[in-house]
Subunit: 451 residues, 2 copies
């Protein structure tokens, strides 16, 4: 599952039930959650290697960290090359709060690291299919040793025991690193001199230039980079009313806190500084940004561009790669919204019930049809902004093409009176006579009028 | 509903589905959530008073704030006077993230305040029972005007549209103020020269000294004060294993950020500084605190005491009052835990399966019974620590009273072998012969032995 872009909300935290889920292999049986404290993880590459139960880990310390958890394929859907893998746009990411024991506490409790170790290698407890070499499927990833400073062995997410879907009973959380490095159901945590030999490490999740095969000499999908996107307004929310809109979205810096976010309403030609709002949950969390803008009728390309504390600026273009990883392009994440001018009261206030002068079945006269045609393009908002109707020279792309829908006059009247979908009611905007004229014009123009 | 003390977790945020729910009147019909944007709130006491729809509020600004939401009766269960009302202990509180429009933006958009206003008065949209004077039941509360600076009209909690149970579509959130002032389904927001005349304001939620009747001259239940409590370990989690325990809990300052938390393991005789861990969500949120302590066998009274940035220290004693409000006493919130010494491997590692030398039905000899009696009080942990058994002079209060349970030898053996509930397995601690001796002694002592 993924989070709908419009559902990210503005409360910083992504609810557990809305956080994306992505697994490379089937999860272990849910029975492992029956006695969470009995889960064990084998710690290797330390001076006193041993298995530790979750009950024991809980005695070694507790810390809490908020992180952006993001699938490295988030944004893959914007690659024109259509890489294999889920074509995520923005929904494979969330900001959640983890609790667990700092990995450095565990290392200290076991006598410290053995000399010469360069990687933290986590092995997942997923079910392995039978009859294949485990190394070809095992979920085992290595991250550079420095990641140990921030990593947790976490048993709780967003205030609840970690669910199986999100890696419970125990997950290796590596703040700032792409999702795949946050090993679920971690059963082995080894400090190693070299990277894991598992295929997912050697040949998976590599930044392979177009036309190449994945190989261990290419950069691995590790640290996230500075990125942001707008969550509202979005085109799927329907046309906006002209006036002030609050543009909001999320921004994160990967390894660094976000310094600022700029927003453009003209596709990147000009930029304005947005405001960072709400609580700052630390450098690995995302920030909410808001910018009120005044938008006139027409279409607007909205984009956001974040800068992190290290001075990195979110790039305009994605870095092309075979797997469709690490897409932070602000250009790809821009959205195009349509703004219309609505007069009268907002739709929510429209008073229902209206007595029309006559039913729509009474014969039309030519003057009424002409009036309807005029209204079609001059009303505020004009029907022509959203609808295509050849007879009116209208080519709107938002609502149904009336030449194809061929609504009869009653249907048009109902839509005008009550609104339908994103179309507002015109009941408080124009007279019943004008609604009737419009309805008759449309019905006649599309051939749906009564003979 | 309330949050179980052991379920608060350590992730700062209280999940929406675990947050306490407390209403003074029935909620409006859920139908009001069908078109959230159509909800209207009437704004009065401003220069251009008018009703605003939620859709309009959303154009006026967005901010996000994390607050402790706490029922003023949280802690009432500790009052020996047994005030009427739910006897909450700690479960009527949570820390959640709200999003909405700052109230000051709304005031600015409507021309500013009318002169002479001293209170922010919110009116809830609850269903009023018929046939009674509305003022006797209306949920309408006034808070001092200064609360406007931090207040939100909120439509989102923890990243999701606000549920009906928590006041959706729109709630007045007054950070730092007791729960009752955070008006649900707010339908009127008035700046007023005087406090509401509703009974809930005039005679409800007053700090009435013992023996008095509630009256408007007594302090209203408004600002929260500095408070903390321990969420783990708790007595209901069973006896602890001697060694290091991580004491953790939550602390908040009401109107001020938490400066620090001290923890005592001797009922308040001595105190140690705990560590504040995890993200700081701002001064109205709570902080997590953690202190690792080494606990030996015996009972320990664990207490926590917070200090806020203004120098206020959480008091030892509650302020007695008729309604049982505002209990911040660290003494009341202390917990008593039992610690036992367990030898051998932790229970999670106990190897299952054991071949006993003989079934428990074979006749016992006196030497074996004597051995069992000796083991009952000398084992580590001794049976006598937890169980009462007259024949052994044991008066433990943690597990079942064996004189009443009268388990037969097989039942005792099963418990020794596998553990049961909080009782650990002894399979890796003592020999099968000793388990058998114990089982036979207990069965004979309580009269449950085979003849």
């Amino acid at each position: 599952m993924e989070t709908r872009r419009a559902a990210f909300g503005t409360s910083v935290i992504t609810p557990s039930n809305q956080l994306y889920v992505r697994n490379n292999l089937p999860a272990p049986d849910a029975a492992v959650l029956e006695n969470r404290d009995a889960w064990t993880v084998s710690i290797e590459g330390v001076k006193s290697p041993r298995a530790l139960s979750l009950a024991e880990l809980k005695t070694l310390g507790i810390d809490t960290v908020a992180t952006v958890l993001q699938c490295s394929g988030n944004g893959r859907g914007f690659f024109p090359s259509k890489p294999s893998g889920t074509p995520w746009t923005v929904g494979a990411a969330g900001c959640v709060v983890w609790s667990g024991v700092p990995l450095r506490n565990v290392v200290a409790a076991l006598g410290g690291l053995v000399d010469g170790m360069a990687y933290v290698t986590g092995t997942g407890g997923e079910k392995l299919p039978e009859g294949v070499d485990p190394l070809t499927v095992l979920v085992e990833r290595s991250v550079p040793l420095k990641a140990m400073d921030d990593a947790l062995l976490a048993w709780e997410m967003n205030g609840e025991p970690l669910s199986l879907a999100h890696g419970g009973p125990l997950r290796l959380v590596v703040p700032g690193y792409q999702g795949v490095n946050n090993i679920k159901y971690v059963k082995r945590l080894a400090f190693t001199p070299a990277q894991s030999q598992a295929r997912i490490m050697q040949h998976g999740y590599r930044m392979s230039p177009p036309g190449t095969k994945a190989s261990p000499d290419q950069p691995s999908v590790w640290e996230m980079t500075v990125k942001s996107w707008i969550n509202s307004p979005l085109p799927e929310q329907g046309p906006l009313k002209a006036g002030v809109a609050q543009i909001h979205g999320v921004a994160f810096g990967g390894m660094h806190a976000v310094k600022g976010v700029e927003v453009s309403v003209d596709g990147g030609k000009t930029w304005q500084a947005a405001q960072l709002v709400g609580p700052d949950l630390g450098r690995f969390a995302w920030r909410q940004f808001v910018l009120p803008v005044r938008l006139g009728a027409g279409t607007h390309v909205l984009a956001s561009r974040a800068t992190d504390m290290a001075g990195n600026v979110q790039p305009q273009q994605r870095e092309e790669n075979v797997g469709g990883y690490n897409n932070a392009s602000w250009n790809d994440h821009a959205v195009t919204v349509t703004v219309v001018t609505w007069h009268g009261l907002p739709r929510a206030w429209a008073v229902g019930g209206l007595t029309l002068l006559a039913g729509a079945s009474v014969a039309a006269d030519p003057a009424e049809i002409a009036r309807g045609k005029l209204l079609f393009t001059t009303l505020q908002p004009a029907c022509a902004v959203c609808h295509t109707l050849q007879a009116a020279g209208a080519e709107g792309q938002i609502g149904p093409v009336l030449d194809e829908l061929k609504p009869d006059a009653d249907r048009v009247l109902r839509a005008l009176r009550n609104g339908i979908g994103v179309m507002p009611s015109y009941a408080e905007k124009i007279s019943p006579q004008d609604m009737q004229a419009l309805a008759r014009f449309v019905a006649q123009a599309t051939g749906a009028a009564s003979p």
